[in-house]
């Protein structure tokens, strides 16, 4: 058996998909060069209210309730990709018949998804979750399914052997629109059949074959077989690429982030539904905003590039710690990111794409240490970055250099704890890493405190008085409480490096002790040999 998914009024559906509130209103889609735009698609409400294909914008502008939208190729591409994803989620063998039509081979799917009638209903349900209204038909051959989907609305099931009977009620136009090579040929055939008084497929199917062949040739015979639902063929298999992108061209530019969030939410919902249909999750999200040409002198603090139309492209990329499929999470992360890096100009086009990955499958262990959920942690980190600033939250990593205090703050992505069996399997029989083994086998190994340095950032300017080559008095210029006689000193330790670089450094360190109320305080004072200035770098604690 074969199934066909057909989306009527495709250009209108592609627009309504990103604005579902339009479904209750009359919508007409215009195309062409302004001001000579004409209607190319309508939704049912508009058709019922009397709007016709081919009407001009000037004719419709006085129509108060009618919503006029310009055709968007980007949105149609997204809708087409969604249609193919829906088909692919049920069957590995699909045919990309047209931008609004997909065919599926249902052979062997019954043990997986249930009877054919259930598969048809599930197909209709899934496509509606993608905010597309489609007709679904199931028949014993692809072309019969295609005709039924184009001719009957809703879900249609045609039992094997009943194709001619069910398809007989359809008008000839459906057949010609589906199988004629172009519109002119379809019009010519229609005119001929109309002259013969043939308006339904039943009439065409009942014509005697030989006279029909004499008058219309082999093409006539083929059309008659199609009308009887008697042609069987293989599908032209197509595997849709794993591209999960949604695009919206805006009628009016958006300036504020709040209305942008509504649109992002809808787009993310669609991306997630499509990913979910293919049993995938997102590893990376990429948001591309097309901005109106920016004001003179405006500088972007994020990657931006001009396209050929003078629009500026503003791109943000969210790399996720683990594959996720949570619309709310994605939206919040994007919102926080955009708050930290606003686009800076009105937005005219939004493009979101997701890098697909297999969903995370974890088996939590009863005896594993507590670990934050990666999804929740990512959101927490984004929120914290919003408070303390980007680059000020993460994990420290020491750099391989002799320069004092050289480190980088990296993105915080701790490795997930593994169960003992998993660790053993991974290490080929060695169950733990060095640190864990050290702690468990010899609990006293690290059981002591280290005298740690507490660093002043930036270092505090100071005046150091030297006598006989050693410091005797310290006065900090930025903190009055750090001043007085030095009671003990240790040093100097001189070091330098990066001579060949522009940022060469040379320093002399002293560790000093100064009396305090509760004992003494240990400081590290440093002289920058290149500048000749003294600094208090930190305290030992």
């Amino acid at each position: 058996m074969f199934a066909c998914i057909y989306i009527p009024d495709f250009p209108a559906e592609a627009i309504i998909r990103f604005d579902p509130e339009l479904r209750t209103r009359c919508v007409a889609v215009l195309a062409g060069r302004p001001p000579l735009e004409k209607v190319i698609a309508l939704n049912d409400k508009a058709r019922q209210s009397g709007v016709e294909i081919g009407a001009t914008r000037a004719q419709l502008e006085a129509w108060g309730e009618l919503v006029l939208r310009t055709r968007s190729q980007a949105q149609e591409d997204s809708a087409h990709a969604a249609l193919l994803d829906c088909a692919q989620s049920f069957s590995p063998e699909i045919e990309d018949t047209a931008e609004n039509t997909a065919l599926l081979n249902l052979a062997g799917l019954e043990p997986l998804f249930g009877p054919v009638s259930k598969i048809a209903r599930d197909l209709a349900h899934r496509i509606s979750k993608m905010e597309l209204e489609a007709n679904v038909a199931v028949a014993s051959n692809p072309d019969a399914a295609l005709l039924a989907a184009r001719g009957f609305s809703g879900v249609t099931l045609i039992a094997e052997g009943h194709e001619a009977e069910r398809l007989g009620d359809l008008p000839v136009d459906v057949l010609l629109e589906s199988f004629a090579s172009d519109a002119q040929e379809a019009a010519r055939w229609l005119e001929t059949l109309d002259r013969w008084g043939i308006r339904k497929l039943r009439a065409l199917a009942s014509l005697p074959e030989v006279p029909l062949s004499e008058r219309l040739g082999q093409q006539g015979i083929r059309l008659q077989k199609l009308a009887r639902g008697a042609i069987t063929r293989n599908l032209r298999s197509f595997e849709p690429p794993l591209v999960f992108a949604e695009c919206v061209q805006l009628e009016d530019p958006i300036v504020l982030l709040e209305p942008l969030a509504f649109l992002l939410n809808r787009m993310l919902e669609q991306v997630c539904v499509r990913l979910g249909a293919r049993a995938l999750a997102a590893q990376e999200l990429r948001l591309q905003l097309e901005l109106e040409p920016c004001a003179q002198g405006r500088k972007f603090d994020v990657p931006a590039a001009d396209d050929q139309h003078g629009h500026v492209r503003f791109t943000r990329t969210l790399r996720l710690p683990v594959p996720m499929l949570d619309v709310k999470m994605f939206l919040k992360l994007l919102q926080l990111d955009l708050q930290a890096h606003p686009p800076g100009a009105p937005i005219v086009k939004i493009y979101i794409s997701a890098e697909p990955a297999r969903p995370r499958a974890t088996q939590s262990g009863l005896f594993l240490p507590p670990f934050p959920e990666p999804e929740k942690l990512e959101l927490t980190l984004a929120r914290i970055a919003g408070i303390v600033g980007e680059g000020r939250v993460g994990s420290a990593e020491l750099l391989d250099t002799h320069r004092a205090g050289a480190f980088e703050v990296r993105r915080f992505a701790p490795a997930q704890p593994e169960t003992k069996s998993a660790t053993r399997k991974k290490n080929g029989g060695v169950p733990k890493d060095d640190n864990t083994r050290q702690v468990e086998e010899n609990p006293q190994a690290t059981m002591s405190a280290v005298l740690a340095l507490r660093v002043f950032r930036p270092p505090l300017r100071a005046v150091l008085t030297m006598r006989e080559g050693k410091p005797v008095r310290l006065r900090c210029l930025q903190r009055e409480d750090i001043a007085g006689e030095i009671v003990w000193t240790a040093g100097p330790w001189r070091s330098s490096g990066d001579w060949s670089e522009q940022e060469g450094w040379s320093r002399e360190e002293w560790d000093i002790a100064m009396p305090a109320e509760d004992g003494f305080v240990l400081y590290r004072v440093v002289q920058d040999k290149l500048q000749g200035k003294w600094f208090v770098e930190g305290t030992y604690d």
């Binding site: 942690l377 927490t380 420290a396 640190n435 507490r454 003990w488 240790a490 930190g538």
Partner: protein
């Protein structure tokens, strides 16, 4: 037990005496009040699980740090507070837990932390104070670095404290951290005491039934009754040190290695009774191995 309530009304100056029992019955019939559990029937909280502090002597004193509770470490500068905290973080991260350090003064030296044994990959470091650095820069410019503007300095610390409280709330809500350390060690006591007690109660409530240890490092105790364990850390006195040092010019080892730290348990809300109230242990310099 015979309990009586004595009431007086404005109209009648003569006191009315009621037996308590009928009144309690009446109150008990009110649906809202019927749900109130008497104090005598409250569930006894189980003793919290203890996490090693990473220092054997301190474990002997406190039994470690309790999970789901607030612990406070306080002491003056150079008393060894940071070393104690890093030891606890090292222990937790080495056992596979994820920890967080909310660094109010942005004073952590990652090299010292690594030397203490902290697995830096498992430590989330939040460096507070970005917004105030620029303000400080302006302040320095206008004064040529000669004197401090007290009001601006106070405001600077207030802003940092705001960040600390917001970040701590977020971390506690996200769950899953083995230990969260609030390093308020450089915040002036006057500013640190401005943290409302309600915040500490909120933090305590947030971690109550979680495996998280919330450690606060400070100069003076500030969490009040919210902390379950309060430890005072102090370094050696000047006179005690001077007797050990060789002359006026000690070696680096003498100055920084094997510095004696005294930890005193001032408060413990746990049932465990410590064998002594204070212990001493030696710290090691990070280069001492």
């Amino acid at each position: 037990m015979s309990a009586f309530l004595v009431l007086s009304t404005p109209a009648l100056s003569r006191p009315f005496i009621f037996a308590a029992q009928p009144l309690l019955k009446k109150l008990g019939s009110v649906p809202k009040l019927a749900q109130v559990t008497p104090a005598s029937q409250l569930e006894v909280r189980p003793a919290p699980e203890m996490v090693s502090s990473g220092i054997a002597a301190l474990d002997g004193l406190t039994g470690g740090w309790p999970r789901g509770c607030v612990g406070e470490i306080f002491g003056p500068v150079s008393s060894g507070r940071t070393g104690v905290v890093l030891a606890a973080l090292a222990r937790s991260t080495q056992s596979g837990e994820v920890c967080a350090l909310v660094d109010a003064g942005d004073t952590l030296d990652p090299a010292s932390a690594a030397a203490a044994g902290v697995d830096l990959g498992k430590l989330l470091w939040v460096r507070c104070g970005k917004a105030v650095l620029s303000a400080r820069g302006k302040q320095m410019d206008c004064r040529n670095g000669d004197e401090l503007d007290i009001a601006a300095e106070r405001r600077r610390w207030e802003l940092r404290l705001e960040q600390v409280l917001k970040v701590t709330d977020l971390l506690l809500q996200s769950n899953g951290f083995g230990m969260i350390v609030l390093d308020l060690g450089d915040i002036p006591v006057r500013n640190a005491r401005q943290i409302p007690l309600a915040s500490w109660f909120r933090f305590r409530r947030a971690i109550e039934r979680t495996p998280t240890v919330l450690l606060v490092v400070e100069q003076q105790p500030i969490a009040g009754s919210c902390s379950s364990v309060l430890v005072k850390v102090s370094g050696k006195k000047l006179s005690a040190v001077s007797s050990h040092l060789s002359g006026n010019r000690p070696t680096h080892t003498e100055l920084l290695d094997k510095t004696e730290i005294t930890a005193e348990l001032l408060r413990s809300r746990l049932e465990r009774k410590p064998p002594q109230s204070a212990v001493s242990f030696a710290s090691r310099a990070k280069w001492a191995g």
